[in-house]
């Protein structure tokens, strides 16, 4: 009898199971909504990150905060590819660190738990003291790093702080890397300008610009190597040194409005402490300059008037075109006196724009180019002019004025879809070389604009498959024409100056000095060479550089 009973149960179960099958087929018609699980972890310690924000686009944005165990769950997601992003102050996520991430495919009801890594910030903290072990307040501390900006290596400031009354400072939000700590001249912070000369001769002492661990030039400074999440403690003792006075007279300024002075060191800091000016005679005294090499710039103050625009707004009207300047290099090894600075002198260079574009007959809206001259040592003193000047701009100038002897990098940036086909000063090709300015007169800088540039489309492949990489366009004839086009599998750029180029696909392209032929030489073997003629439309394939070439 038992076997019959069980047979009946089996039959009953079979019946139930069968009746379920039709509804199972109904489920196969509508896709099953998926679930997305994961954890956010600290990439250094592996520990979960609580209270991080996780975002997902499905397609509208969904967000969650992770609890203390760092987990997150998104439910009811249609099948597809998702790229979750995690964020939290004090951390960098993969996107910010430009680490390529693969989107996660969600197919079935449950996917594998995803681990999102957040890289903790590094901190540099410490104290600044003087030789007597007393804390120094108000000292500026900067974290600096060599970085490639636009293909050129520059010292970039990544963080700055000021010491408090206990001499403490703290720099946060730092990524891993090699840093220098610099302490620009701490002679009081701001500077004062007074209008009476001082007859008092006083030996002053103060702090010149220093780098950790206590040297005055970058070359002897110690590099601080920082790993992710590191907390680095620094104690810096600043030594006092003698400060000197720079004095002289300025000719050519208006006694009413006067002039102002800036003394800048090679790091781009203003080092003056007290400036005293006698507006009537043009005499000046700059106090508080430590020993070093500087650029002194004097600028006449504008004569100005207030004008009522008729409705409660006051407008400042400049009565002069560009104010006169004078720039001169200066070496300070002791007190400097008797300087004579004549405003408006110094080398001046004219600029001519040759517009060879098709529609250049627009008298009232000329095609404009922004020209910049940056002296090598003192990049803070670069000057820019827009040529040709807008007809409405009464204050426009067509010359670079008051240039101090130095070597200058000259850049020309068109303001529209044209390219610079030629940039010359006499026989100097400024697309290749820098311009040396010394005492003699120089021919004008000639800029030629054309709009018959080529269009280039680049498709990135790796071992036959489409891939994402940074795309560089390098010109060995004119390295300054080299560009970073972007990071993609495929992109197009127009307005490229005709010539021969190498298309280089490489990860980490942004950190390469792509204007430096010596750096780029090793990538040329695997690059795609392309010659672009005027108005050509060319498509090339760029193979991602092999692993051993990656920077």
């Amino acid at each position: 009898m038992r076997s019959y009973f069980w047979l009946l149960v089996n039959l009953a179960l079979a019946l139930v199971w069968h009746t379920q099958i039709p509804s199972a087929s109904a489920q196969e018609i509508t896709p099953k909504l998926g679930e997305f699980r994961g954890r956010v972890v600290n990439s250094v310690t592996g520990e979960p990150v609580p209270y991080a924000l996780v975002q997902i686009y499905a397609p509208e944005q969904k967000v969650q905060f992770t609890p203390s165990d760092g987990t997150f769950v998104f439910t009811d997601l249609p099948p597809g590819s998702y790229s979750p992003v995690a964020r939290k102050p004090g951390f960098f996520n993969d996107q910010e660190l430009s680490i390529p991430t693969q989107p996660t495919l969600i197919q079935a009801a449950q996917s594998e738990p995803v681990v999102l890594k957040l890289t903790p910030e590094a901190i540099i903290y410490g104290e600044v003291k003087n030789e007597n072990e007393q804390p120094l307040e108000g000292v500026v501390v900067r974290a600096q790093q060599w970085q490639v900006v636009n293909g050129q290596r520059q010292l970039v400031t990544l963080g700055n702080a000021s010491t408090d009354d206990e001499g403490d400072f703290r720099l946060s939000d730092l990524r891993q890397g090699h840093y220098y700590l610099s302490f620009p001249s701490t002679n009081g912070g701001g500077w004062t300008t007074t209008y009476q000369l001082s007859s008092k001769k006083q030996e002053e002492q103060g702090y010149g610009a220093q780098f950790y661990p206590g040297v005055s030039d970058l070359k002897s400074a110690t590099v601080i190597e920082i790993r992710p999440g590191a907390q680095v403690h620094i104690v810096q003792t600043l030594r006092r040194e003698r400060l000197f006075e720079v004095a002289g007279v300025v000719h050519g300024a208006d006694p009413e409005s006067g002039f102002n002075l800036m003394l800048m060191n090679a790091s781009g800091d203003f080092v003056q402490n007290n400036i005293r000016i006698n507006r009537k005679t043009g005499q000046f005294q700059i106090q508080g300059a430590p020993e070093g090499v500087y650029m002194l710039r004097v600028t006449a103050n504008r004569r100005q008037a207030l004008r009522d625009t008729g409705s409660g707004l006051l407008a400042l009207v400049d009565e002069e075109p560009r104010p006169l300047t004078a720039t001169l290099p200066l070496q300070v090894h002791g007190d400097v006196s008797g300087l004579v600075v004549a405003l408006g002198t110094g080398t001046s260079i004219g600029v001519e724009v040759h517009d060879e574009t098709a529609d250049n007959n627009r008298a009232n809206r000329p095609h404009q180019v922004l020209l910049q001259m940056a002296p090598h040592e003192f990049s803070g003193f670069s000057t820019e002019i827009m040529m040709p000047p807008s007809p409405a701009d009464r204050r426009a100038t067509t010359r670079f004025e008051g240039l101090a002897p130095d070597t200058y990098a000259v850049e020309a940036r068109p303001t529209g879809p044209w390219y610079i086909s030629s940039l010359r000063c006499g026989s100097e090709d400024l697309l290749r070389d820098d311009l040396t300015v010394s005492q003699g007169a120089l021919p004008p800088i000639a800029v030629t604009l054309r709009d018959d540039g080529a269009q280039l489309t680049v498709n990135v492949k790796e071992k036959g498959q489409a891939a994402i990489a940074g795309i560089l366009l390098f010109s060995s004839d004119y390295p300054r024409r080299s560009q970073f086009l972007g990071s993609a599998t495929s992109l197009s750029t127009s307005n490229v100056a005709p010539g021969t180029y190498y298309v280089i696909a490489i990860r980490g392209a942004e950190s390469l000095e792509f204007r430096n032929p010596a750096v780029m030489a090793r990538y040329l073997a695997h690059a795609t060479e392309v010659t672009l003629g005027p108005r050509a439309k060319v498509t090339v394939v760029a193979e991602v550089q092999p692993e051993e070439q990656q920077p």
Partner: protein, 560 residues
């Protein structure tokens, strides 16, 4: 003597000088720096003297003694500081302190400089999860001594670091309040989809620094703000705890922030006109008349209708500025964002045109260059409405909303003061006008010339007395905060009050009167009878010997 704060700040990291010009003979300034609380010497204090534009610094010895030699006669400014102490002038109170008189008959070599140990307020700002809030703006608010203690001002502000920490050091003793302004790091303020579609013009209100905070579709979790929060974590300053600090006291004040849903407002009835631009900013008033700017996001929903979001709950002032062809008009609306919903801005179209004429004394017509300002008396820390003076002395303001305003005149020529105001279609009371907005207002403003000066000596028991608070108050008791003048008597007992408007005054010299809230009505009553009444005419200089009074105990409140 009075020294502006700016100069004091620049002296904060003095350079050391060791050699001074040796003049045969010459006078000296010398003394000892003592801790104002313990009276023990402050070893190696940094002491400096200033004369005109020149400053000399020296380091005191281990016994706190210092000396400056070879000085010419005159008045010197003496400052001292040391690690753990404030940086202050000799007997300093607010911006006033005792100048050192140097010369024959002056004793400037036995000065006791009581240097006050610094008070410090420090702490951490945390959020609702107990985590640090970095980049929060912490405001230190104190009473303004120079205005008789009533008005509050932001004495200092700091941003919290990555640990959420802040520190205010080198503080004098006194009562302070803390206010914190911050944004939740995860906030994504929402604008309605209608506004986003019209966004050519999704703008950010004045003072905005919203960096990566784009308006997203993330829903209510991220559409949050932190209201302005006061220590220890309240949003109403009346229930906030002030911090009363003595010299040398260090106080920890942590503030916890709680995110609340951002409020949205619709403004209707706005006319922008073609080609014009519109900007919406918001401020919140705290402690009476101190206005703090808020960050807002705004954008057009439909013609004439704007959405403003990112607002904290509470009473706010919205400022709507329209700019069209260089003409700008600004209007304010008081709003309670807790009520939400829609505000009809068209009801505030009624503004009055205020114009008028400035009169100066005969023969001084050239002096009429400058500007007129109307300051809203309920928001004295905001810049007021400005009008430039024309060559003929006339002026015209853009539309002014109804309210009570104080008239200020800034003439480029010095030495003028506002003598009288008369108005058509507005009520005048002293230098104040009340505009009801019904009709256009015509003002006649008469300027007088010749500010006066009162100098002299403060005496106590027949001897000159230093460090006494000298206060000149208007006899009428009106405009106390603006027209009173204060000084501290120098080491030779002398004082100097300048820039005085002609009129009737009472001169008071009160020992240790520095914490008197003299602008409060009745606070000066016990002192007036012993004060000296005087009348100052235009350009008049008076020399007075004032007798110092003792500070009396505050009057007991009489009554049930």
């Amino acid at each position: 003597m009075i020294v502006p704060f700016l100069l004091l700040a620049l002296l904060s990291v003095p350079a050391q000088a060791n050699s001074q010009r040796q003049v045969a003979g010459g006078y000296r300034i010398g003394g000892m720096v003592l801790d104002a609380v313990t009276n023990s010497p402050v070893a190696r204090a940094q002491v400096s003297i200033s004369f005109g534009n020149d400053t000399t610094t020296t380091t005191a010895g281990d016994d706190g003694r210092f000396v400056f030699a070879g000085l010419q006669p005159g008045k010197y400014v003496l400052n001292a500081t040391a690690p753990g102490y404030v940086h202050e002038g000799y007997h300093q109170h607010g911006p006033y302190f005792v100048g050192i008189a140097v010369g024959d008959g002056q004793d400037s070599e036995h000065l006791i400089f009581r240097l006050r140990p610094q008070a410090v307020i420090y702490g951490r700002v945390t959020d609702e999860r107990g985590e640090a809030v970095r980049g929060a703006q912490v405001l230190l608010i104190a009473s303004d001594l120079t205005r008789g203690g009533r008005a509050k001002f932001v004495r200092s502000q700091m941003q919290t670091n990555d640990l959420g920490e802040y520190r205010f050091a080198r503080l004098n003793s006194g009562k302070y309040y803390l206010a914190v302004q911050a944004h939740p790091w995860y906030a994504q303020l929402q604008v309605s989809s209608q506004t986003k579609q019209n966004s050519g013009l999704v703008g950010r209100g004045a003072g905005s620094f919203l960096m990566s905070r784009t308006s997203g579709d993330s829903g209510p979790i991220l559409d949050v703000v932190y209201p302005i929060t006061f220590y220890p974590g309240v949003t109403d300053e009346r229930s906030s705890e002030g911090l009363a600090l003595d010299a040398g006291q260090q106080e920890q004040a942590n503030v916890s922030l709680h995110a609340v849903p951002a409020n949205h407002l619709r403004l209707t009835g706005l006319s922008q006109g073609e080609g014009g631009a519109l900007s919406v900013g918001a401020t919140q008033k705290v402690f009476g008349t101190l206005s703090l700017g808020l960050d807002t996001i705004f954008g057009p929903v439909s013609p004439g209708e704007y959405e403003v979001t990112g607002l904290p709950p509470g009473q706010l002032t919205l400022a709507i500025t329209t700019i069209k062809e260089n003409q700008w008009t600004s209007r304010t609306i008081e709003a309670d964002t807790g009520l939400g919903g829609t505000l009809d801005a068209s009801t505030l179209q009624t503004t009055a045109k205020v114009s008028g004429q400035l009169l100066v004394a005969a023969g001084a017509a050239d002096a009429r260059t400058g500007e007129m300002i109307l300051v809203d008396t309920t928001a004295t820390t905001l810049p007021g409405a400005k009008a430039l003076l024309q060559n003929d002395g006339t002026f015209q303001f853009p539309g002014i909303q109804p309210g009570i305003y104080k008239i200020q005149v800034n003439l480029h020529a010095g030495g003028y003061y506002l003598q009288e105001v008369s108005a058509k279609n507005a009520e005048v009371s002293g230098r104040q006008i009340t505009i009801t907005g019904a009709s256009d207002v015509n003002l006649t403003v008469t300027m007088g010339q010749g500010l006066g000066q009162v100098t002299g000596v403060v005496q106590s028991e027949g001897e000159p007395r230093a460090g006494v608070m000298v206060l000149l108050v208007p006899g009428s008791g009106q405009d106390m905060e603006e027209d009173s003048r204060i000084d501290e008597s120098d080491s030779d007992g002398t004082f100097n009050l300048g820039g005085i408007l002609p009129g009737d005054y009472v001169l008071l010299a009160i020992k240790d009167g520095w914490d008197l809230e003299w602008a409060e009505p009745g606070a000066l009553k016990p002192y007036l009878s012993a004060g000296q009444k005087l009348t100052l005419g235009p350009n008049q200089s008076m020399k007075i010997t004032a007798v110092a009074q003792e500070k009396t105990a505050p009057m007991e409140k009489v009554g049930p």
